[in-house]
Subunit: 241 residues, 2 copies
Amino acid sequence: MELFLLSNGKLSGEDELLGYAKSRLLAMIERHGITSAVFVPYALIRTDYDQRAQELAQTLGIQVTSIHHAESPAAAIDQAQCILVSGGNTWMLNQMLHEKGLIVPIQRAVRERGVPYVGWSAGCNVATPSIRTTNDMPVRNSVVLPALGLFPVQINPHYIDAHISGHMGETRDERLAEFCAVNPSESVVALREGSLLHIEGNDLRYFSARDQGFKVFRHGVEAREYDNTQALRPLVPFTCH
Amino acid sequence: MELFLLSNGKLSGEDELLGYAKSRLLAMIERHGITSAVFVPYALIRTDYDQRAQELAQTLGIQVTSIHHAESPAAAIDQAQCILVSGGNTWMLNQMLHEKGLIVPIQRAVRERGVPYVGWSAGCNVATPSIRTTNDMPVRNSVVLPALGLFPVQINPHYIDAHISGHMGETRDERLAEFCAVNPSESVVALREGSLLHIEGNDLRYFSARDQGFKVFRHGVEAREYDNTQALRPLVPFTCH
């Protein structure tokens, strides 16, 4: 199994989508001899699917086809060499994965055939057991269904501990503490902008383009910052580097 | 029908819950001869229900009882002189309103018996047709069910158009534009901190403790700021002042 779980797509001040992860993604593409990828664009609401696919094709130097063109989306996944899952609105994305019957095909492709999965933001959220730690607005009538569960722990992407002066709504840290209070046996890995988790076979690695750590939230424990994956050892079945 | 729909509970730099709306709430209490209120605390996750009820009792000068003590929550609503609905997590709140069978009792109390409804943040969200415009994290498995629908238009509380430098997730404005793109026949009223809508009988009034306006988001129309309710005339069945 190979997963790239990215906090975000574009980094502040950078124009290239996935730019901060590019060297790692190109190495993966070369290692697997990948020539094309299937793009899952359903999280995008106000962005053209094909334009985004084209952007990805340029960055990665492979053919990228948006799955909305496929007569059978499940068959497209069955034949995919690589799966790219866009950020946007997590509710739209997870609902569409269920409606199009893609949950099991993606799980099989990734787990059984070793097809690399690259997901950023919403695409990272749906790789966890559920979308309960998304930051997104539930813009449509929807259900908080299980997601792909490729990675066994909830992730909060775009994590930031600053907050806007004068804003009296709950801060991100308070929201995550609420999650842990409601789900005391679970943990949340909070990924800052420009950071990613890379699962390759049995190995788990962490990378931050800005040399920042990630945080782990657990009920009854003060959230701490870590710069390597050792803290995740009790939570995941991977070798933590 | 009388509704107070508040963007938030506490204002930045103020300690008193509902302080910025206090004079209006006290006038309502006097006008109706209210001596007690039922408090719906289910949005609170890490705050003691009774402590919060006590805070409200002190601010409003009436007896406030949290509904979680009631043997029959629906009966407590049937006997309520006033209903206070706390902010916190909108998902928890809406799910509990449904699980405890409170949707119809509250609708009847407010619409048929004229029991005043005061809701802030999450309590404001559930007074609209659905919780699709909440800012909150869906911390539990839940469904985006219809909410109370006392006010006929979606509200986005805690609205703020600033954003945190370096944060690459969607801004609030982008999230609301997404909502409108997915729901092109609907509108969203975005209420800034310290502002409220007051519906009394057939009259709708807007108040901001900081003399700020509210915004209305609609698909295909640039969001604009308004300082009186005229802009809401095509959207609501009330007389807009």
